[in-house]
């Protein structure tokens, strides 16, 4: 019974998924209640998490395969928030689409529970199961739309995702063979004891793991699916993919590499790999984003570049052996900041494309005159993505660059700063279009209430935490403390 209490946050979400399905088939005339039930489930989950924070009784369960600690609690909040925003942003689209409403919300909630399990798991089998629990519904969601673009996006996402998880599994099998266990702390102990004899094999396994998770994080060279899937998938789903699965992949990678593969002879190697991938992702993502004309493809490439920024934190952790937690807390802060910012940008895109029926950047011209509040909110999110104060994105970038410098990765931080300038060019050119450009028609419009709520929550987060970042920073530092040596 106690175990059920510990996985309560995930269970609440899964029960809500079941209820949504039941309600959809038993009371079909009350379909508009479905998102309400989904949101209630997420609220219960967040409250349950809060009760664990209050009890402060952190523990491991199921033979140590799942952890309820400050780190997983941080991500429970992040994922509940992300999913709630996505549900709010989906309502209009789902109503218009008409079919399978219950299934849509149930799948979104299932993804959320998978992401939560992923942040909590510390065993290779559990990690694999949680990853697939979050991935398989995402494949379905990406192919949810009626048009052929959507099903094409779903199939592409699934095929590449299946190849990536096979690579990941082979890496896990090698680690199991070398250490004889799948539990991360036991892996760490076994590697520190006599792992040095298998160094070559361990590096191969590490590369396979990075390849598998790199796909989910959308870093170069595993980024080719990103623009296609973001463009083809329904926009709320693309928003979900861009923040949810990226955040979860970083959550689990931090756990695997800091808890399982943190042996000194190994960590120098993987931190170098992460540094190179970070530089490549930032550069390629930003350069490709400049030439895009479709805003969803642009946001896709920009999310590749942002994944590079995240990775500076991964590279920084291991090099700075004495400040082990700085890189981790930088990533956590970046995850939270990115969740607010990118969701805000995507919800803005949903609101605008609903009204003007286009995703082309040139059609955004003169948005300031047609819907001032919407244009202002999207502009703030774009400013935050660039990393200009007073937005939360500025603090996240500052913090992660600071972690890089403390870890002697000055060259990487320089590349990062140069890339921020490039990123500023294309983010702000969208903002310039909206404020300076001339609209072809000047019919005013407003976003629907649910979208206004989602966009408002995201933008207020961006601005409030941009002015007073301390609560978010101390939460990230608290959560990263579990990795202190």
């Amino acid at each position: 019974m106690n175990s059920l209490d510990v996985v309560g946050p995930q269970l609440a979400v899964l029960v809500a998924a079941g209820l949504v399905l039941l309600l959809d088939s038993l009371v079909p005339q009350q379909r508009r209640l479905l998102p309400v039930v989904a949101l209630l489930g997420l609220i219960v989950s967040a409250l349950w998490t809060t009760s664990w924070v209050g009890r402060g009784d952190y523990q491991f369960l199921f033979d140590g395969t799942l952890a309820l600690d400050k780190y997983s609690v941080f991500f429970y909040y992040v994922f509940a928030g992300i999913t709630a925003t996505v549900v709010l942003a989906s309502i209009d689209w789902v109503n218009r689409e008409g079919r399978g409403q219950g299934e849509y919300y149930a799948l979104v909630l299932t993804v959320c529970s998978g992401l939560m399990f992923l942040a909590a798991s510390r065993d290779l089998i559990t990690i694999f199961l949680a990853l697939e629990l979050s991935s398989i519904p995402q494949y379905i969601l990406a192919g949810w739309g009626k048009d052929s673009k959507s099903s094409e996006a779903g199939l592409k996402y699934l095929l590449l995702g299946a190849i990536a998880s096979s690579l990941l599994l082979y890496g896990m099998a090698l680690i199991y063979g070398i250490t004889g266990t799948t539990l991360l702390p036991e892996i760490a102990a076994a590697i520190k004891a006599d792992g040095e004899t298998y160094r070559g094999l361990l590096i191969v396994a590490t590369i396979l793991l990075i390849a598998g998770f790199g796909f989910k994080m959308a870093v170069v060279p595993f980024q080719m699916w990103v623009p296609d899937v973001y463009q083809g998938a329904p926009t709320p789903v693309a928003a979900f993919l861009s923040v949810g699965s990226k955040a979860a992949a970083f959550a689990v990678v931090i756990r695997i590499f800091f808890e399982g593969l943190d042996a000194d002879f190994l960590s120098d190697d993987w931190s170098m790999i992460f540094a190179v991938l970070a530089a490549a992702s930032m550069t390629l993502g930003n350069v490709m984003a400049i030439v895009q004309t479709d805003i969803k493809r642009m946001l896709g490439y920009s999310s590749v570049a942002q994944a590079g920024n995240f990775m500076i934190g991964l590279a920084a952790i291991s090099v700075a052996g004495n400040e082990f937690t700085l890189g981790a807390s930088a990533i956590l802060l970046f995850v939270a900041a990115y969740a607010f910012t990118n969701l805000g940008a995507f919800v803005g895109v949903i609101a605008i494309s609903q009204r003007i029926g286009s995703d082309q950047i040139k059609d955004y011209a003169g948005m300031w005159k047609r819907s001032p509040v919407l244009a202002l909110a999207v502009a703030f999110c774009l400013i935050s993505l660039t990393g200009i104060p007073p937005t939360v994105g500025f603090w996240a970038k500052l913090y992660i660059f600071n972690a890089g410098i403390r870890a002697d990765l000055v060259w990487l931080v320089l590349i990062g700063v140069l890339n921020s300038v490039v990123a500023g060019y294309y983010y702000l050119s969208v903002a310039r279009q909206m404020f300076m450009g001339d609209a072809e028609e000047d019919k005013k419009f407003r976003a629907s209430p649910s979208i206004t709520m989602a966009l408002g929550a995201a933008t207020i987060g961006v601005i409030v935490f941009g002015i007073i970042p301390m609560p978010l920073m101390s939460a990230a530092q608290d959560a990263a403390e579990i990795f202190a040596r």
Binding site: L124, I125, F128, L129, E132, I136, Y139, I140, G143, D147, S148, K149, S151, E152, A153, G154, L155, K156, L158, L159, A162, I163, S166, L167, L169, Y170, M172, A173, L174, Y176, G177, G180, T181, T182, P227, D228, Q231, G232, V291, Q292, T293, D294, R297
Partner: protein, 104 residues
């Protein structure tokens, strides 16, 4: 000559590479999926080998892992075939080279 751990592992590695080559070179979506299945089975073989030969406190872990992989692979294949059918209805092809609607 007796059959030892190295033989099993070599077969596993070869199968994995073959599967990866198939998955990356096939143009038919179903063919890619078959390559992926081959990779997953190579992983299963490797896991079972390790749990049979390696010194471990709980040798059952590798076998349990393999059972989970088989189950998840079945779920993934079901979704993959459903998506392939949906693409085929729209486009009358599942050739991945022809799936090129998504361009800037």
């Amino acid at each position: 000559m007796s059959v030892g751990i190295e033989h099993f592992l070599t077969v596993g590695a070869l199968l994995f590479c073959l599967g990866l080559a198939i998955a990356l070179s096939k143009r038919n979506a179903i063919g890619v999926l078959m390559g992926v299945e081959l990779m997953l089975n190579a992983v299963n073989l490797t896991l079972i080998t390790f749990s049979r030969f390696a010194v471990s406190e709980r040798p059952i872990t590798g076998q349990a892992f393999a059972v989970f992989i088989i189950t998840v692979a079945a779920a993934e294949a079901a979704v993959a075939l459903a998506l392939a059918v949906s693409v085929y209805r729209n486009r009358e092809t599942v050739d991945v080279d022809q799936l090129n609607l998504l361009r800037s």
